[in-house]
């Protein structure tokens, strides 16, 4: 089960954590502040889940400490890890689209700290401020493109592609 968010941290700490995160480099201070207003600091122990497949996409996560495995699980079998995400990376983009569910399990490989930004409030920010919305969607787009390139590289088995 996903863990309950911890009580809201200090607003200034949240602003600092968001501003310092690689995903947010260059975002205007007022937009950082707006994101912080919608954010919660989330600390999760090793082995717990940030979210599980099929769950509602209630938040966008910025990983600030620790490592998270994106897993596909099926009954009676060990889960298959398709990718791991680490401090400095963003987790999840399904939240952009209301009504979508998470497609993978996100399991903490060690103690993890993230900034969880409420998805509904973040979508409202995107809708209310087109410039911020464009910036955020482009940043998400870059993450998606990078992950697509990496997924294609995995698909063609680049580490084992020919025999040396």
């Amino acid at each position: 089960m996903s863990q309950e968010p911890l009580p809201r941290g200090d607003a200034e700490q949240l602003r600092s954590a968001i501003a310092a995160h690689a995903f947010c480099h260059g975002i205007a201070a007022d937009h950082i502040a707006a994101m912080a207003d919608a954010a919660t600091s989330l600390e999760l122990p090793a082995g717990s889940f940030v979210f599980r497949r099929g769950g509602p996409t209630t938040a966008f996560y910025l990983v600030t400490e620790g490592s998270i495995a994106l897993e596909v699980a099926s009954p009676g079998r060990d889960p298959l890890t398709v990718e791991t995400l680490h401090a400095g990376e963003a987790l999840g983009w399904s939240w952009l689209f209301p009504g979508r569910d998470w497609q993978f399990d996100a399991r903490c490989l060690d103690d993890v700290t993230t900034v969880a930004i409420d998805a509904t409030r973040l979508r409202t920010l995107v809708d209310d401020d087109p410039a911020f919305g464009r910036d955020l969607v482009l940043r998400i787009g870059r993450v998606v493109v990078d992950r697509l390139i990496h997924a294609r590289a995995q698909l063609v088995d680049i580490h084992h592609h020919d025999d040396r």
């Binding site: 990496h150 590289a153 088995d157 592609h161 020919d162 025999d163 040396r164």
Partner: protein, 280 residues
Amino acid sequence: MTIVDTPPQRTLTTRPYVVSTVRQQTHDIVTVDIRPEREAIAFAPGQFDMIYVYGVGEAALSISSDPAAPQLLSHTIRAVGWVTRALNHLQPGTTIGVRGPYGRPWPLADAEGRDLVVIAGGIGLAPVRPALLAALAQRERFRRVVLLVGARSPRDLVFRDDLDVWAADPAIDVHVTVDSAVRGWVGRVGVVTKLIPAVPFDPEDAVALVCGPEVMMRFAAEGLIARGMPTDRIHVTLERNMRCGVGTCGHCQLGPTLLCRDGPVYAWPEVGELMSVREL
């Protein structure tokens, strides 16, 4: 034992070596350690030998052992053809033939005073291992030494003992990732090129040695260039159907270059475009 420092680069003469040990690296990869019956021949990191299994044939194989100890020579082999299959089943005490070392080595001296970034995919760790051992033996000559290793799965990782030792050594920054994993693996999952933007090194003052399947090397070079590394500081090693080892037979031709004679190590501007030409 006598060590010959100036190897006869273009000789076709085979010298007898005796198999010392055969070490299983993965389910389909072994490292064969051999000792010379006569004098040992010095080699430079990145060079290769022609290995002759008597009665079977010859294969070109990169040297994977420590250049400071040429009296114990290692080659790391995946069984893909007649010769490599025979090598995988050698028993200690068997005599095989070796000629070499051949080829242009890694330009380790160019990395002195700079960050050294080594990127290896799969069995590609074998040809860069001598460069890593040489760099660690003269660690003070380099700034950061970074090793990025990728493999299909945890069971496809080679030189795991080395990786464990290096991971605990502050002299080298080691990052290992696999394409996919099941429970029990607590490391990174993802392609090795994903590590390039995240790992600390100074791209403008670093030298990269990249070894793995050609597709992986292309992805890695593109990642290094995107991070800001000058293209002429990126070096790759190519291996294709080398038969003679001395630039005579032409089997290892890639466009205008013969890999055994001009390579196998190349700076990226020398071969980057060639590696994308479908017709070659």
